[in-house]
């Protein structure tokens, strides 16, 4: 999980000592997208993206945990000795996840059911760890909060895209309001008649690997073409 961490650490070191807040916030969404560019946090990306709503819900949870973790890690960065910093991150993240899990259990039981053990497993999500180690432990609280929120936004966006593709092509429609407590239930694309041609394996485990694999290939191809033009 942590082996890929070296990359962001180097990037931050190369960049300006004090990057502007706006750059800090936006770089995590596209340029350093945790999932599609860094390929971190694969476990939730594959496991909870069978439906759009599950993926979206997971994105929101990761957003809360990542922003809070970055804030707390940054706030205590001068108090914690270097040697015990990793264990202290673990405790901070595990505590936040536990609180969050209790809240989800209470207010969105259907989402808790859908995500299952993966809510608890945000504790060992490498995107969260990576940002705490590579950014929050070296920067001021406000910047760390912005960085955490930006990266999490990018991560949640990627999850939602994968979930959208998998549910649309796997079942032929997108169901809203079933797992998230929206207060209404609505199905989009129901009248397109895609159900007949639904490729159900995409909504099942193998589809997760295939969809992410081809999305990554598409992004690589796009970037290569862009690079070639320059």
């Amino acid at each position: 999980m942590t082996e890929v961490k070296k990359v962001p650490a180097k990037k931050v070191a190369v960049e300006d000592k004090e990057p502007s807040p706006w750059v800090t916030f936006t770089k995590g969404i596209l340029k350093e997208n945790g999932l599609f560019v860094m390929v971190l946090g694969m476990c939730p990306a594959l496991a909870v993206t069978a439906t759009f709503e599950g993926a979206f819900g997971m994105g929101i949870l990761v957003m809360i945990v990542l922003t809070l973790t970055n804030i707390s890690v940054s706030a205590i960065r001068k108090l914690v000795p270097n040697t015990v910093r990793i264990p202290s991150y673990v405790i901070i993240i595990a505590t936040e996840v536990t609180i969050l899990k209790m809240l989800v259990d209470a207010f969105a039981p259907a989402l808790a059911q859908e995500l299952g053990v993966f809510i608890a497993l945000i504790t060992v999500n490498c995107v969260v760890f990576g940002r705490a180690e590579a950014f929050a432990s070296k920067n001021k609280v406000v910047l760390a909060a912005l960085d955490g929120f930006g990266v999490a936004l990018g991560f949640g966006l990627s999850l939602s895209i994968i979930g959208f593709v998998r549910e649309l092509f796997g079942t032929g429609m997108i169901v809203l309001g079933k797992t998230l407590p929206l207060g209404f239930e609505y199905t989009i694309f129901q009248n397109l008649g895609l159900q007949k041609y639904a490729f159900s394996v995409l909504a099942q485990p193998p589809g997760a690997f295939l969809v992410i694999g081809f999305l990554l290939a598409g992004i690589t191809a796009f970037r290569q073409r862009k690079g070639a033009k320059k």
Partner: protein
């Protein structure tokens, strides 16, 4: 459920990597060199088993009587982190060459979600201690089986011409997807 059924289902049918998506970071991260992969699989089997051995009694004899089972994630991650440290010490003492071969991957097991995932799954559904241990063993073996075969395939992929955009991670993911498709066919065994 009989033990053999649990072993087979946790190892092949509900394979921890391909079907439950646990331990994927190490799965894609280290599956390039066969030697370290074999060492890593061995270490993961040991740590998953030890973690199940310890977390199950902690859950049923400490957390439940004290009525604090909501802190299971925190308790388990602490157990796993110290366990990994302990395994590291023991391996260093017993076999220095194995310790050298595992290198950095040993401490990384602490953040391998397969270990925490199995520990949490074990207490989420009611089963006996022996069943939980069998499940842990099967999961560990399943992880080893998949990562070793996947590494073998991936080493061959390096040698052949792959479309430029698919090179590296994308083709690895597609390969894993095809493996998962093949494993879905095993669902009928039990």
């Amino acid at each position: 459920m009989n033990l053999l059924a649990i072993l087979i289902s946790s190892m092949l049918i509900n394979n921890i990597v391909l079907m439950q998506f646990l331990g994927l970071c190490s799965f894609f991260g280290i599956s390039t060199k066969m030697k370290s992969v074999v060492g890593m699989s061995f270490a993961v089997i040991v740590v998953i088993l030890l973690a199940a051995l310890i977390t199950y009694p902690i859950y049923y004899y400490v957390l439940i009587p004290l009525d604090i089972k909501y802190i299971d994630t925190i308790a388990f991650i602490l157990v796993i982190a110290s366990l990994v440290q302990l395994t590291e010490l023991v391996i260093k003492r017993v076999s220095h060459s194995l310790y050298k071969a595992l290198g950095v991957y040993l401490p990384l097991i602490a953040t391998n979600c397969a270990v925490l995932g199995v520990a949490l799954t074990n207490v989420a559904s009611p089963q006996t201690y022996i069943e939980a241990l069998t499940f842990a063993l099967g999961s560990g073996l399943g992880y080893a089986l998949i990562i070793i075969t996947f590494t073998a395939i991936r080493m061959r992929l390096d040698a052949i011409a792959v479309p430029k955009a698919l090179k590296g991670m994308p083709i690895a993911l597609v390969t894993a997807g095809l493996m998962a498709l093949a494993f879905m066919g095993l669902a009928g065994i039990i």
